[in-house]
């Protein structure tokens, strides 16, 4: 079991979701986060004061998958989120120890799908 964490551009969320559904990956948690990578943030101006290095809005996805779904998930996220420009984001894959479905108490791989 793996936990896939992806940081993507907010405006690509719909495309990423579409690609994930095509690969039958349905378990997804989305949150709004702030951060920046190589773009070094954004400049904002308030009454003539320039502020550089402000954090940018990003979307963070958390997707738990069984090992045989990892590649499809990565492919789907990449396909949906890629624009070719700086700031497209990152995908992190972590190994996951346990998964429990709260409703039934099922554990492991069957609890994910």
């Amino acid at each position: 079991m793996k936990l896939v964490i992806a940081i993507i551009q907010p405006h690509r969320l719909d495309q990423v979701k579409e690609e994930l559904y095509k690969e039958e990956v349905n378990l997804i948690t989305v949150s709004e986060v702030l951060g920046h990578g190589r773009q070094k943030g954004v400049t904002e101006v308030y009454r003539g004061f320039k502020e550089t290095g402000n954090l940018l809005r990003k979307i963070r996805l958390e997707i738990a998958v069984n090992d045989n779904f990892v590649e499809q998930t990565i492919k789907a996220i990449t396909k949906g989120a890629q624009t070719g420009k700086t700031g497209d984001g990152k995908i992190f894959v972590l190994s996951m120890e346990q998964c429990v479905r709260i409703r039934t108490g099922e554990r492991g791989g069957t609890a994910i799908g």
Partner: protein
């Protein structure tokens, strides 16, 4: 014969009654021409205008509130709202008397304490066609918004208790005397002939200088300069600015105290100056910072509206356009460069926008005023009356000095007795939680 006599008698009697009636009505009409009559349109307009100006204080609350961090939103709304409550009471008890009852050159007396003698007959020295209390309640709204303007200078770091005491003292010992000097019967600046249609000195310079003084002595917010704080909700500020613009029609056009040509002129030049100033700031932003900003545009509008305030009853649209453009340029320089150069934290630019525009407006009135617009006014420098220009300068300087000294003393008194600034931990947690035990926004439902 008897019948003829009777008829003659009846005719005589009728004639006599007729004469009596004519004399009586003649007396009545001469009475009404001596005693000023209430004009219902004027009264309606002034009462409406008072309501317009009342709305400016909550409008200001949203203008300022949007600019602070989310943890201090309620503190701003609360400070503005409580000013509305406190000053409304202060005004009817003592404020109106100190400001407007006949007194010496500096302050009115206590003759009108508790509105004693301020009734529903007109008081011709101020307004001959509306009930005296209509004038009083219109002026009440000016007394409310002026201390509220200062809030922008010490936002996010003043103790609420200290704020209440400071505001009450400031209104009583700074606002009321300045209002008397400029507008009250016997006021020395009024007697000097200063033109201040709706409050360039009384409201904007007065509050602007108080803002500068308090910003400097209360000190910077923690982390200021290394970490300027972006507005937490600009849409609120835009809503607030729109309400201010709306209320300003009551503020300026209402100051004609009559539904007449002067009011119409004030309405038109107010709108014109606000509009051109908003445009000017937007273009300055575009040129100097790369993009026209929403905050810059509303800041410009407020600068233009404040600048036209003292001039609104005395200038036409060409002067209004110049006043608006120059107001935005001055204020832009003040908040973007001067404030940075001198490192004071006038957090929401109460001085940088209201104070600077106030000075410019009062001086501009001395430049552009013309009797062609308002025969009851005076000519300014450009109409060949240099004296008026110097009177305006003197009034601006006098207000500056009085507001500076008065604010300083009151601030220090409050600081000694209750302490003005919240402790560092409270500032870090935010005033909403530490001063009011509330928060503006929940994180979870």
């Amino acid at each position: 014969m008897k019948t003829a006599l009777a008829i003659a008698l009846v005719i005589l009697l009728t004639a006599a009654i007729g004469v009596c009636e004519t004399t009586a009505s003649g007396e009545a009409s001469s009475l009404t021409s001596q005693k000023p009559a209430i004009d219902t349109s004027d009264t309606a307009w002034v009462l409406m205008s008072a309501a317009f100006v009342m709305l400016m204080t909550p409008g200001l609350a949203f203008f300022y509130g949007g600019l602070v961090r989310r943890k201090n939103m309620l503190s701003i709304l609360m400070q503005c709202f409580i000013v509305l409550a406190v000053l409304s009471v202060q005004w009817v008890l003592i404020g109106y008397s100190l400001s407007f009852s006949p007194g010496n050159g500096f302050i009115g007396g206590l003759k009108w304490f508790g509105l004693n003698g301020v009734g529903f007959e007109p008081y011709p020295a101020y307004s001959a066609t509306i009930p005296h209390q209509a004038f009083m309640i219109f002026q009440a709204m000016f007394a409310v918004i002026t201390p509220a303007l200062i809030i922008g200078a010490f936002a996010e770091r003043m103790k609420f208790s200290a704020f209440l005491i400071f505001t009450l003292l400031w209104a009583t010992f700074v606002y009321d005397p300045v209002a008397h000097m400029v507008w009250g019967v016997g006021g020395w600046l009024k007697n000097l002939g200063v033109l201040d249609f709706a409050g360039g000195t009384v409201v904007h310079i007065n509050a602007g200088i108080a803002a500068l003084v308090t910003a400097i002595i209360v000190g910077k917010r923690k982390g200021y300069c290394h970490n300027p704080t972006p507005p937490h909700n600009l849409p609120f500020s835009v809503l607030g600015a729109a309400l201010l613009w709306f209320g300003w029609f009551g503020f300026n056009a209402g100051s004609a105290l009559s539904a007449n040509a002067v009011a119409t002129n004030a309405f038109v030049v107010t709108n014109t100056a606000g509009a051109i100033a908003a445009l000017t700031w937007a273009f300055l932003d575009w040129k100097l910072s790369g993009r026209p900003t929403m905050l810059g545009t509303i800041s410009g509008a407020i600068a233009g509206l404040a600048a036209i305030t003292p001039a609104a009853g005395y200038v036409g649209i060409w002067a209004a356009l110049i006043i608006g453009i120059v107001a935005s340029i001055f204020c832009f320089v003040a908040v973007s460069f001067v404030k940075r150069a001198f490192h004071y934290d006038d957090s929401l630019d109460a001085f940088g926008i209201h104070g600077i525009s106030g000075f410019w407006g009062v001086i501009a009135t001395g430049l552009f005023a013309t009797k062609l617009i308002n025969p009851a006014g005076a000519n300014g420098l450009l109409a060949g009356n240099a004296r008026q220009f110097f009177i305006q300068l003197a009034a601006a300087a006098a207000t500056l000095v009085y507001a500076f000294v008065g604010t300083f003393i009151i601030y220090k008194l409050v600081d000694v007795f209750v302490g003005v600034r919240v402790v560092d931990e409270e500032e870090a947690m935010g005033l909403d939680l530490t001063q009011h035990n509330e928060r503006a926004y929940t994180m979870l439902e």
